[in-house]
């Protein structure tokens, strides 16, 4: 049965309007929806508000391309392949973007609250740190806290009223317009099966108003329903599906392909400056589509990244010195 959810990458990017708030599947350098990230850059999106449990190369590409006004998260870098987010860092310096810092667990709890339909979550993490410093409420300082999509307060400090467990922090639900997931399999009706660690994907998909799934393959819905206990996201929580093999490259996909560390390292090394970013984007993003991108990467490179089906990762990639 076709559900009419199938769209193209170009259509998926068109759904994300200028000024939207956006989140992604994955974790640092794994399962990021890169094919769509590139398409957003080609469509010259502006004013995006990224709300991420953690950032990564996708943050760096969108920020470098000038698509992002606000980044709310806890971390950005390329793990082993680039020690910090040079584009975020540069644009914080030039005040081209606003950065709102929460801790990693706080971001997770914010998404869990949104996914549960709760206005906030309560936690005891990060007490005593400058993350909670009221002077460092970036969105408040910028007058963005309208109490609609952006919470009235960054934090509320309170005490446990039930068991006397002391200081507590309330963190606002992460309200996002669109979540873009990048996964191994989606059914024709939208059921998602993630293989390997699912990170914060279930919370992200449920928190968003619109969920778009970019999958390595669209499979018969009936196939996924034979063993429904293996599935990760429910059919009706997914609005649109896109079939896009190698859609996470240069990030990795459990069981399918490894992280392209050489690509990430060359991005990190080459994009400390805006000129460097523009040159990189000219070579790898503009004037291309996903197929010509894969063609440029070439078979030898992609086969080297291909995961061993018994191990779920590549035995060919060079990781060390």
């Amino acid at each position: 049965m076709s559900s009419g959810k199938r769209i193209t990458l170009q259509q998926a990017a068109e759904i994300i309007e200028n000024g939207s708030s956006l989140t992604f599947s994955g974790f640092t350098i794994w399962r990021r929806p890169f094919a769509l990230i590139y398409e957003l850059i080609r469509q010259k999106k502006k004013g995006l508000h990224l709300i991420e449990v953690n950032g990564g190369p996708q943050t760096e590409f969108l920020v470098g391309a000038g698509c992002v006004d606000i980044w709310e998260s806890c971390w950005v870098g390329h793990e082993l392949y680039g020690k910090y987010g040079a584009n975020v860092s540069r644009k914080v310096g030039t005040k081209e973007i606003l950065v709102e810092d929460y801790s990693h667990a706080e971001m997770l709890f914010r998404f869990a609250a949104a996914a549960a339909g709760s206005p906030y979550a309560v936690t005891q993490t990060s007490l005593g740190t400058d993350i909670h410093n009221p002077e460092y409420d970036t969105l408040g300082r910028a007058g963005k806290r309208d109490g609609k999509r952006i919470a009235k307060h960054k934090y509320v400090f309170t005490e446990d009223p039930f068991y006397g467990a002391g200081s507590q922090v309330l963190v606002p639900a992460a309200k996002v317009d669109v979540a873009v997931m990048c996964v191994q399999q989606v059914g024709e009706e939208g059921t998602v099966r993630v293989k390997g660690q699912y990170y914060s994907d279930p919370e992200a998909a449920r928190a968003a108003d619109v969920t778009i799934v970019i999958a390595e393959e669209i499979v018969p819905e009936e196939y996924l329903r034979r063993e429904s206990d293996l599935n990760t996201i429910t059919s009706f929580e997914v609005d649109h599906i896109v079939e896009c093999p190698f859609g996470a490259h240069p990030t990795g996909m459990f069981g399918r392909y490894d992280v392209d560390g050489a690509f990430l390292k060359s991005f990190y090394d080459g994009t400390r400056t805006q000129e460097g970013f523009d040159a990189f984007a000219k070579e790898w993003i503009y004037g291309m589509d996903h197929m010509s991108y894969l063609e440029k990467l070439g078979w030898p490179r992609m086969l080297n990244l291909k995961a061993n089906t018994a191990l779920n990762y590549s035995t060919g990639v060079k990781r060390g010195a």
């Binding site: 667990a105 990060s126 740190t129 410093n133 200081s167």
Partner: protein
């Protein structure tokens, strides 16, 4: 039984740090691993004195026993051999529930109370340099019973006052006012502990839980307490120095370089002269 220690020309600084970190782990402990050298250290402990330790990767691998060292905690190499592979919700709820004994963390700056910065250098609102941000550093540091920081030792990093408290030490700020209080006072019944050691490229440091102040415990071979004192902006307590940091054994070096990290992803091999 006397240990078969390696001689100084057989190991590098990364080996020494890795073995020192590994010795912080006790058997049967639940240990939270960050990306990098700590993963090698914990897996070294798993293969030596702590075969029953339970390894957690922040991205969602619980009680992991990876046959190959992962490149990062989100890596596809984390899952195989684990009790469960799930997500961040499990990892952080387990931590907030109080089930984590030990976490290994890093930092760009540390002060004498163990407050650590990974967010920015200079004024937060007009930074000289924006760094990665917190990641899970403050979360693990808030929830675990003990945390160990592994850091490069430079005078500018062992600072009187960190640019930004990303991760809470022993004397922290109570918001919204910002008055400095002992960690126990702020965390109340959720208090479980805090930073227990800093392993730097110069020595191993510990904390006095009452005063919250750092002191030098051992000097790495070849370093003197006075030399290390000169590498701190704050007045380092060297009155409790307990000799030299234990060097790696030949068995540990074999495990690091031939079993755990043969590709030198995190720990370089010492070049033979």
């Amino acid at each position: 039984m006397t240990k078969d220690y390696a001689s100084p020309e057989e190991y590098g600084l990364a080996d020494l740090l890795c073995c020192a970190a590994s010795r912080e782990v006790a058997d049967h402990e639940v240990v939270f691993a960050g990306t990098g050298l700590p993963m090698v250290a914990i897996m070294l402990a798993q293969k030596t004195h702590a075969p029953n330790l339970k390894l957690i990767f922040e991205a969602g691998t619980l009680d992991g026993r990876p046959p190959e060292i992962p490149t990062s905690v989100g890596d596809a190499r984390c899952e195989m051999g684990a009790s469960r592979s799930s997500g961040l919700s499990d990892a952080f709820c387990i931590a907030q529930r109080g089930l984590v004994d030990l976490g290994f963390l890093g930092g760009a700056e540390v002060d004498q109370y163990g407050n650590v910065n990974t967010t920015c250098i200079g004024d937060y609102l007009n930074p000289e340099l924006r760094l990665t941000g917190s990641g899970g550093n403050p979360d693990i540091n808030s929830f675990a019973k003990r945390t160990v920081f592994i850091m490069v030792h430079e005078k500018r990093r062992f600072t009187e006052k960190v640019s930004y408290i990303t991760s809470p030490g022993w004397r922290v700020k109570k918001w919204p006012g910002g008055e400095v209080v002992h960690r126990k006072e702020l965390y109340g019944s959720a208090f479980r502990g805090g930073p227990c050691a800093v392993i730097s490229t110069a020595g191993v440091f510990r904390f006095d839980e009452e005063t919250g102040r750092i002191y030098l415990d051992t000097c790495h071979p070849g370093k003197t307490p006075e030399e290390i004192r000169g590498l701190c902006q704050f007045d380092l307590d060297v009155s409790r120095v307990n000799g030299e940091t234990e060097p790696p054994t030949r068995e540990e070096l074999h495990l690091i370089h031939n079993v755990l990290d043969p590709d030198q992803i995190f720990i370089p091999k010492v070049k033979k002269a």
